[in-house]
Symmetry: C2
Subunit: 409 residues, 2 copies
């Protein structure tokens, strides 16, 4: 953290908030993005350079003369840690303050074990990562963490997380406060995938019409991250996007949540594994039986492989799951009118038939005005969306907290 004046005026803070979505902008680009005049930007930037919040990149010669100097957050501020906890795996990423990735660690885990063992495991990964890059705990500027359950965003508490019953009411902020001076921000894992995708899209300048979109994670659980008017939408209590328990078949099997025919119960990874097991038991799919013997297990990976080998049973399983997902998304397209739906998670990557089934089901059921520009595709960042989002959340939260907004004169 800079040792000089920490507090920021509202204009300075807003400038940093804009800059973190850009890729080393010039003063001119910042003026265009913020709506401030060039002279005002020059004066704001001068203060932020003096106070150690910003630093200038090297200006390079180009054919048209000297390129304007790029502006970046100052490395003095420290490092950013992102933690992406899924139901069965955890990713930890260390970035510099401009979100360039320095290193990642990934491990299999099981959130159902509860906070004790899982946080010990995360602590080990973090220690290793920080030590490896020579970063002491006090060198961390901010931490962000995604968890596979509903989070009350203001408090950071997990509320009735169906996949994480042992975490109910657990205070992650307090846990990390004992380890780091820097603040921790917690959000739902799918919200962070959406935030990560938004950051990617904006930093690359991929399109200004990408301010309203959905990111859908298809895995053990099914959830949806919502970008509305250019920011994560969390709803009244932070529970928005919990689409896994929308009913797709009132006569369907009972979900662990207690209700019948939830999307998650009919398209989540455990359901796909059960369908595969039934196909093996009934002798309907010799290919799946072979793969189960070879791999010693039978899950989405085996079903995907069988589908690629042309097994009709596996293809039917994939198609049915995709169609169920599309059935729910069709309704959400009518309601939310997103410009894009981006799919991520293990189930989404079971093969082209999954994406095709989702698309078919959505286009068949949504209204023309909502679908004429709609694009349904995989996430841009593949499996890195969640950790990018955790890092963006960490940076935004740390700027807010550590800046300590200065009252206007």
């Amino acid at each position: 953290m800079p040792t000089t004046a920490l507090s920021l005026s509202r204009d300075e803070f807003e400038l940093l908030e804009k800059l973190l979505w850009m890729d080393g902008p010039s003063r001119h680009e910042l003026a265009a993005r913020t709506g401030h005049s060039k002279s005002k930007i020059a004066s704001l930037v001068a203060h932020l350079l003096d106070d150690g919040w910003l630093e200038e990149g090297e200006s390079q010669e180009s054919s048209g003369g000297r390129r304007p100097t790029s502006l970046h957050l100052s490395h003095q501020l420290g490092f950013i840690v992102g933690i992406d906890l899924g139901a069965t795996s955890v990713d930890v990423v260390l970035c510099d303050v401009n979100l360039t990735v320095l290193g990642t660690r990934t491990a299999a885990t099981s959130v159902s074990l509860g906070p004790g063992p899982v946080l010990a495991q995360i602590g080990g990964l973090l220690d290793d990562l920080l030590t490896c890059h020579g970063v002491p705990p006090e060198g961390v500027f901010g931490l962000g963490m995604g968890v596979p359950g509903p989070v009350e965003f203001r408090t950071g508490l997990l509320i009735n997380p169906p996949l994480m019953p042992r975490w109910e009411g657990f205070n992650l902020r307090e846990h990390f406060a004992a380890l780091f001076e820097a603040p921790l921000a917690v959000d739902n894992d799918v919200n962070l995938m959406a935030l990560g995708e938004l950051h990617h899209v904006r930093q690359r300048g991929l399109g200004t019409d990408l301010e309203n979109f959905l990111v859908v994670k298809l895995g053990t659980g099914i959830g949806c991250g919502i970008i509305a008017r250019g920011d994560v939408f969390r709803g009244a209590d932070g529970a928005a996007g919990d689409i896994g328990h929308i009913c797709v078949d009132p006569d369907g099997p009972r979900c662990y949540c207690g209700n019948p025919g939830c999307l998650e119960a009919l398209a989540g990874a455990p359901h796909i594994a059960r369908e595969a097991a039934q196909a093996v038991e009934s002798g309907a799919s010799p290919i799946l039986a072979d793969l189960a013997r070879q791999h010693g297990e039978l899950g989405t990976r085996e079903v995907a492989q069988a589908a690629r080998l042309g097994d009709p049973v596996a293809n039917h399983i994939v198609q049915t799951a995709g169609s169920r997902v599309g059935q729910v998304l069709a309704g959400l397209v009518n309601f939310f009118n997103p410009s894009q739906i981006l799919l991520g998670g293990g189930v989404a990557h079971m093969g082209p038939l999954m994406l095709a089934s989702v698309r078919q089901s959505v286009y068949a059921r949504s209204l023309p005005l909502s679908t004429r520009k709609l694009r349904i595709d995989y996430t841009h960042l593949q499996d890195a969306s969640g950790r990018r989002g955790a890092a963006v959340l960490a940076l935004r939260h740390a700027l807010t907290v550590q800046a300590g907004l200065r009252g206007e004169a």
Copy 2:
């Protein structure tokens, strides 16, 4: 319009934008709401008073001394016209610039007749209203209009409106530009109901947690207005909230949109009328048969009356429709996590059983975190939400257009 300097700085414009949601605030209240210092507010207000944008209310003596002066938009600016066009009726309202209602006109209509006859009818109502209050066309500061179909908000064009096929691509702005100097803004009728409810809630100071809610209109069509983070959410193409064509029964009857089992086809007013007609034909409901004879027609009004008289068939019709609505809303509660769902429109007011069925169906199917604070009720403004919303839209749009934002120095 003020004859002095028209253009506004960004800060001045933002202050007016805040003020229009408040009920004659003091300078102190404006400072609290905008985050500006008292001295900055004093200087902004002084300019806006000088330039004819604001005027001061009379300061009154109170027990604690002189009450602070209230601030209002200047009556010099002119009058506001709101038009709320539904499928079968139209409301026109004339307000002063602070949205106090001066008069309204209501008439039955049929949007299916197309723009010619319907706009002639609206023109007649408007003429009458303006003449009655001595307002010449050039005295109008802004016009806002709601229509029962999807609108591309930027252009104001109707896109594939299912209830209004003859209006496809019709340019309402051009039509009104020939009649008024003031600009017209057009939006979907349900978006304007939501905007009207938001204005009511804010102006009355009814709660700061009311920034994410839904307004559902149940009538000939079924639609949803979305307030996300304190403003109307329109989606990527202005089509958000079109929930009438979400599928509630894949084996259900075909909707006029072409798909089977749409919510509108199973809970809209025409469906309820058809169910009632069948009950009369089959002899299942002598009460409905009596009412049909007495009134010479058989629609939602008769079904509502029969339900109040304890007719089990009518009650079943109401209950089934409410349950279908609740089925869709349960999914939207999981996705959007609203703090409130407010119901309006003729079908919503068919009696307490309708509200009860919607509630029961939502609470049975939504997740605990999403429903622990959720309130489901009628709209606060009853049938005035739409015209209030049209007036709010008119005022916001007129401020934006007529102010002509001044570039910063």
